[in-house]
């Protein structure tokens, strides 16, 4: 075997192994009852997903998945666990409705996947028209070599503004739901009269 063949086989194996591991981690995260372990599994899931994005030549998405999925959202899930407790309550008694919903939506997704163009198909509508236009014209029009940045920030500037507003809204919602003044210094019960007063009221 030549070196090229070996690397081709290796790539094929990785392309098979990563999605298989992805499915395994997802299933394990669903079935495991310990929420801390499930959170760790979701972190691994995101890391595998980031590797798959990297193999699909989408480093911008990969870096986002690694930072958001494996990093920050793991911390948020851990924060939620520290509030809600470690153990899952177990499956609900009525499993029929969720099962039907899952089977129908999975069948719909499989059905829709037959209409998708083959991966890397140059004649697919997305690659043939706008994609080719952006790749050729975007670096000249914006002076920015990374076409992803120029599309996100300039051609699709409205969408990115909307995304930023979504992140802002998420922060506002979290602050409203979990207590507006989250400054812990105000909540420390030092030797003030206020705390003794509340203790008196409790007793």
């Amino acid at each position: 075997m030549t070196l090229a063949e070996v690397s081709h086989n290796l790539e094929g194996m990785i392309n098979l192994a990563l999605p298989a591991l992805l499915v395994l981690t997802a299933a394990a995260a669903i079935f495991i009852r310990n929420l801390m372990a499930a959170t760790a599994l979701l972190g691994i899931f995101s890391l595998l997903m980031a590797l798959i994005y990297l193999l699909l030549a989408a480093p911008d998405v990969a870096i986002t998945e690694a930072a958001v999925g494996a990093g920050v959202s793991t911390v948020f899930l851990l924060g939620a666990i520290s509030i809600c407790g470690m153990r899952d309550g177990g499956p609900s008694s009525n499993l029929l409705v969720p099962l039907v919903v899952i089977i129908v939506s999975t069948a719909a997704l499989f059905y829709a996947s037959f209409d998708m163009p083959v991966f890397g198909d140059g004649t697919a509508p997305a690659n043939a028209h706008l994609g080719a236009y952006f790749i050729h014209v975007a670096p000249m029009e914006t002076g920015i070599p990374n076409a992803v940045t120029s599309i996100l920030a300039s051609y699709r500037g409205y969408d990115t503004l909307g995304e930023t507003c979504v992140v802002f809204t998420a922060a506002v919602a979290c602050m409203l739901l979990l207590g507006k003044d989250e400054n812990v210094e105000e909540h420390q019960p030092p030797d003030t009269e206020e705390t003794s007063a509340t203790e008196e009221r409790r007793s």
Partner: protein, 143 residues
């Protein structure tokens, strides 16, 4: 977490590098993968890591929630403000061509500014969400 000396020392050594990497991703997004969103997340991750090891009170003394709330709104305002500035200069909303004499320079300036806005909002929003989660857990421990 005062007892984990290995974690504390590693965090102390790594935090500046993570912050530096976040700045690199922010300012180098024009040439390499990344941009404001990713940079904001990485910056927030550094602050969250620091806060997990050295305590919420300690972190909030340096990065107060009030300041982060201002930055969070300021980022969105900066983004939308660039759009309005383009309108005032005679272009469409978010049309960066008119921001400078040369359209290409205008695009560069506009993209730099809006990426900064995205980075500010994402970073402070993530830290604020962490503060509110950790604040609830902190109060829970004290009761």
């Amino acid at each position: 977490m005062k007892q984990h000396s290995v974690l504390r020392i590693i965090t102390k050594i790594f935090t500046p590098f993570i912050l530096m990497f976040a700045l690199y991703v922010q300012l180098h997004g024009e040439y390499s993968p990344g941009g404001g969103f990713q940079a904001g997340i990485i910056l927030a991750a550094a602050v969250i890591l620091y806060s997990m090891l050295f305590g919420l009170t300690h972190t909030q003394r340096r990065l107060s929630p009030a300041m982060l709330r201002l930055l969070c709104a300021g980022g969105v305002l900066l983004y939308a403000g660039v759009g309005v500035a383009a309108m005032l200069l005679g272009g469409n909303f978010l049309d960066y061509d008119v921001l400078a004499e040369d359209p290409v320079e205008g695009q560069k300036l506009g993209i730099l500014l809006i990426e900064l806005g995205v980075g500010l909002t994402v970073c402070s929003a993530m830290i604020l969400i962490f503060y509110s989660f950790a604040g609830v857990a902190f109060r829970g421990e004290q009761e």
